[in-house]
């Protein structure tokens, strides 16, 4: 179904206002499937009904709001996405974390756009591979997303057979998951129990201060405008402990957006550090 430009404009404005994701006019066609899904949910084939529902950028029905957020955000993820990144975490970061914990310290990891949880669970599996039972002592895991429905899925720890195969070696599947029925696999109960899941909007949320050793924000900011990228990076910087690391997507960096981060190559992967000793005048 094709819609008129005024309608696309209202719809994309709503998405931009609430998620920061910008749909340019040339990309309006990408909204078609999402709008159709929403109309099905509203049980209408009249686009004016949708307009009414989002009039003035305010949606009375929270379910409709969540549905639009879900439709607009890209939940694409899989286990050990970008194997090089997880090899670096396993070989370089996990040993440092375990050492820190052995000396009485705490290690906190935040997956800030966690989607269905594969990222945080992959990190946890890496820790378990180095030290069985390791996630139980000294670690704190936080996973947030803007979409409630995807957070529910992350919390459940249940994945379809297809999802459970994407990126996950078979030895890890049989070790950390159990088959719940013919077509679903569920991660070990102790994993979701250890994670603090919550809804968080990177543009408007109140960020924790100086709390994390690692923040993963991979392939999230690519959808944002430059000023939003800079704003989020500034806040993520403040959320890191001095010496903490930010992990961005393979094609992303902080250049031209934030001057405080110090680029590091760890295990062949670019990471961005909040320096232990901050420059004078740094935020």
């Amino acid at each position: 179904m094709q819609f008129n430009n005024k309608f696309y404009e209202e719809f994309s404005n709503y998405i931009f206002k609430h998620t920061g994701i910008h749909y340019a006019e040339a990309n309006y066609y990408q909204l078609d499937a999402r709008i159709n899904k929403l109309m099905k949910f509203l049980e209408t084939d009249d686009e004016n009904e949708v307009l009414k529902a989002i009039q003035g950028g305010f949606i009375k029905d929270q379910r409709v709001h969540q549905m639009i957020v879900d439709l607009a955000t890209n939940n694409e993820t899989y286990f050990f996405r970008d194997p090089g990144v997880f090899n670096a975490i396993k070989s370089e970061l996990v040993p440092q974390w375990l050492e820190k914990i052995d000396q009485g310290g705490k290690v906190s990891v935040w997956s800030c756009a966690s989607s269905s949880g594969q990222e945080i669970y992959s990190i946890m599996m890496n820790i378990e591979e180095k030290r069985p039972g390791g996630i139980e002592k000294g670690f704190e895991f936080k996973a947030t997303d803007i979409s409630n429905s995807i957070l529910e899925k992350a919390k459940s720890g249940v994945y379809s057979q297809l999802e459970a195969q994407r990126g996950l070696p078979i030895m890890m599947l049989t070790k950390y998951f159990k088959q719940t029925d013919e077509s679903n696999w569920s991660i070990r109960d102790s994993f979701p129990k250890k994670v603090d899941f919550s809804n968080f909007n990177l543009l408007t949320g109140a960020y924790p201060v100086a709390q994390f050793d690692l923040i993963c924000c991979r392939n999230v900011l690519i959808y944002q405008k430059k000023e939003n990228k800079a704003m989020v990076l500034g806040k993520l910087y403040q959320s890191l402990k001095p010496g903490g690391l930010l992990l961005l997507g393979n094609t992303e960096n902080t250049f031209g957006l934030n001057k405080d981060f110090q680029g590091q190559t760890i295990g062949g992967v670019a990471m961005f550090q909040r320096p232990l000793e901050e420059k004078k005048g740094a935020a």
Binding site: P83, Q161, L162, Q165, I170, M171, Q179
Partner: protein, 124 residues
């Protein structure tokens, strides 16, 4: 890279062949374990084997035992099957399978597993 697809389903053979060839991988087909074994015995050089479980004449697990006994190949073998019970998976891992693809699967699962086993990325 050259991959041998051992599957009695003509449809799976055609689909997997087309998918692999679309990324520049050569494909050798075999409709059951016996045919695959004969090809290896005749000196066919293969980088990876995708192996179905249930096939007439010689099934996947029997093929695994046979190639091991006769030292026919040192190439990695990936099971590609509708069998998905943990004990079944364990059974063939013990027989030498290095990865496991559960049907149905998508091309990114297929190429993901190929990358896990060979270290070669075919991501587009």
């Amino acid at each position: 890279m050259k991959i041998m697809v051992v599957d009695d389903s003509k449809m799976i053979q055609a689909l997997v062949k087309e998918t692999l060839e679309s990324r520049g991988i050569s494909v050798v087909l075999a409709e059951n374990g016996q045919v695959a074994k004969d090809k290896l015995a005749a000196g066919e050089e293969i980088d990876l084997i995708l192996l179905d479980w249930n096939m007439p004449v010689m099934d996947g697990p029997s093929f695994l035992v046979a190639v091991k006994e006769e030292s026919l190949t040192s190439s990695p073998i990936v099971m590609m099957t509708t069998e998905n019970k943990p004990e079944k998976i364990q059974e063939v891992i013990e027989k030498g399978v290095v990865e496991f693809i559960m049907k149905p699967f998508t091309d990114d699962v297929l190429f993901g597993k190929i990358e896990m086993v060979t270290g070669v990325s075919y991501a587009v």
